[in-house]
Amino acid sequence: MKISPVLSSWLQIGPMALILVVFFGLPMLVVVVVSFFDFDHMSIVPAFILDNYDDLFSSDVTLRLYLSSIKFALIVWAITLLIGFTVAYFLVFHVQSLLIKIGLFLLCSVPFWTSNIIRMISWIPFLGRNGIFNQVLIATHVTSKPLEFLLFSDFAVIVAYVHLFTLFMVVPIFNAMARIDTRLIEAAKDAGASRYAVLREIVLPLSKSGIALGTIFVVTQVMGDFFVVKVMSGGQSASVVSALSNQIQELQYPPAAASAVILVIVVMLMVAGILRVVDVRKELAS
């Protein structure tokens, strides 16, 4: 049997297209449609109204929530980038033995052997008012009173985020760095580059694609999170999605849908911005 080239192309993209349409396209479409619906206490009413968007844009809570989420995203991005870049650099350029390299890399993934929720919740007995960390501080006379800001605070939220997402930064940067020809670094040293100059002139620019990918992973996850903020801030901080989840609990689906649509657009703009700075496709192709 002979398959025409057109048919074979469709067969090849078919499975992936089906998954994207059924599990991404259709739900997204439903959310967009629902965002224009009306609702009352008990049900949602099909309609085409702009009230949901109107409420969203006229409320100053929206801006506060976005600023809060973006603040978390930026802080977590900066910290995970610093840690991720350092860890990847160490693994790629300092560890000589391949076996030790693989071993340490696996070690990085050990926290992922348990669920996100358990990893996050395990911070509570550690950072709590009478938690291990405070007990150690008091026992060693560093402080006389337990530190209050450790848990149920922005600090705790950031600690949990960094813990959860650093590996998403390490892996792509590691990948990008591992592809750097070590002769380039020697050539730079030969030309008189200091260690710092090698980092700035060679390693950093050639790790750009990894940094961009890691940034996308971390930023989109922080922007889309509600659970960590809720648990680790003890309800004192909020994020875009935590407000959205409250609306869903109150069965206010149309405003939640409108909020989701706006969030998707904002995150897409952020990703587009990152891709504008670094052409990931070009970097990966070279």
């Binding site: 002769r183 380039l184 020697e186 050539a187 030969d190 008189g192 580059a193 100059a197």
Partner: protein, 385 residues
């Protein structure tokens, strides 16, 4: 630029480099002197330590023992930038994210030269290698030969007194390789600086170098002029590696005057010049024989002529036409490769086929004695020369 004395004489003094404790050293107690302004090739099979020496001279490796001197100054523990050397890396190691101009200007940028000055100097060098039109391209947009010239310009921008080239031609196709090796030689002459060129290609080394250093297993087998390496290899290893000559050997039968007659493994009699060296009867001695001085003729039916001297009979194993001569490989039955380079016009007068039986003859004056000696199990022990 620094005010170092522009003397590119290299001295490698008793240098040993061991990578793993207990493993055989990559470079083994090696001494080497390379004169200022000369073109030196380090030649040897992969893993012989030639690249390790180059990298130690460049400062990218530190010797486990011994010293390296450049221009009379001990540089063993100095970083690359303070040695006045520049290295051209295998497959060039051009920075893929920087333009050709930035690649060439890189070393000046690292020395704090202003953008205008370093770009002007880089353009000047690009002009020299005929690439000024490509200044703003990325390395990936250039051909292999162009990349090689960018690498050369990048290495020369600091006015090094020594240029170290690690397999500079191995990434090029044959045609470019032949052109670029002439170009390298011309640049070296023009600049008058020391070039050290690592290669595993014999003809490349002989074509470009003043001095060829043949290495094996971390040691120098012979360091001599290109002409001497080719015509007067010191031992069987160098002879076989360079390949312009055959190794012939036999057990000494008798010595008369400066000539020893030896019997080969297959029973043929050969003459070797021993000069004033004392050799014992029964001792195994080795000689080198120029491949282009051998005559080959068909062997007539019947047993091989036993009484002939300086002749060897065997079966033709391979025939390769090289254009101006034909390379005839003869299997003499002793395992040693025996090749005769027959002038094309002689060969094609009466072409011989693979499998045909032939007799190869030569004159005693085309044989040189090699340093290798092996005493027979019961023979007298003679110290190696």
């Amino acid at each position: 630029m620094s005010a170092t004395i522009r003397n590119g004489q290299i001295e490698v003094v008793a240098v040993t480099k061991t990578y793993h404790p207990g493993a055989p050293p990559a470079v083994d107690n090696l001494d080497l002197r390379i004169d200022h302004g000369s073109y030196c090739c380090l030649l040897g099979p992969s893993g012989c330590g030639k690249t390790t020496i180059l990298r130690m001279i460049a400062g990218h490796e530190t010797p486990t023992e011994g010293d390296i001197l450049i221009g009379g100054r001990n540089v063993t523990n100095l970083p690359p930038v303070e040695r006045g050397t520049a290295m051209m890396f295998q497959s060039y190691a051009l920075f893929p994210h920087r333009s050709v101009l930035d690649n060439v200007a890189f070393a000046l940028k690292m020395r704090g030269v202003s953008r205008a000055d370093r770009n002007a100097r880089a353009r000047e060098l690009l002009q020299k290698v005929h690439l000024e039109a490509f200044a703003n391209r990325l390395p990936a947009q250039l051909s292999g030969g162009q990349q090689q010239r960018v690498a050369l310009a990048r290495a020369l921008i600091t006015n090094p007194r020594v240029l170290l080239l690690d397999e500079p031609l191995s990434a090029l196709d044959e045609y470019l390789r032949l052109r670029m090796r002439g170009e390298l030689r011309r640049v070296q002459r023009e600049l008058g600086i020391t070039f050290i060129h690592v290669t595993h290609t014999q003809l490349e080394a002989i074509a470009v170098a003043d001095t060829v250093v043949v290495m094996a297993q971390g040691k120098i087998e012979q360091a001599a002029s290109a002409r001497d390496i080719f015509l007067a290899p010191r031992n069987a290893y160098v002879t076989r590696f360079i390949g312009g000559q055959n190794v012939i050997s036999g057990a000494v039968e008798r010595v008369s005057g400066a000539t020893a007659t030896a019997v080969t493994g297959t029973g043929a009699r050969i003459e070797l010049p021993v000069a004033e060296l004392r050799v014992q009867p029964g001792e195994q001695i080795f000689g080198s024989l120029r491949r282009d001085r051998i005559r080959v003729r068909r062997q007539d039916a019947g047993p091989p002529p036993r009484d002939l001297i300086n002749a060897l009979s065997g079966e033709v194993h391979a025939i390769e036409n090289q254009g101006s001569y034909v390379k005839v490989t003869i299997d003499a039955g002793d395992g040693e490769e025996f090749v005769a380079n027959v002038l094309d016009e002689d060969f094609f007068l009466d072409p011989i086929d693979i499998g045909g039986r032939v007799v190869a003859t030569w004159a005693a004056r085309d044989v040189r004695l090699l340093e290798d000696r092996r005493s027979q199990p019961s023979g007298a022990v003679v110290a190696a020369a």
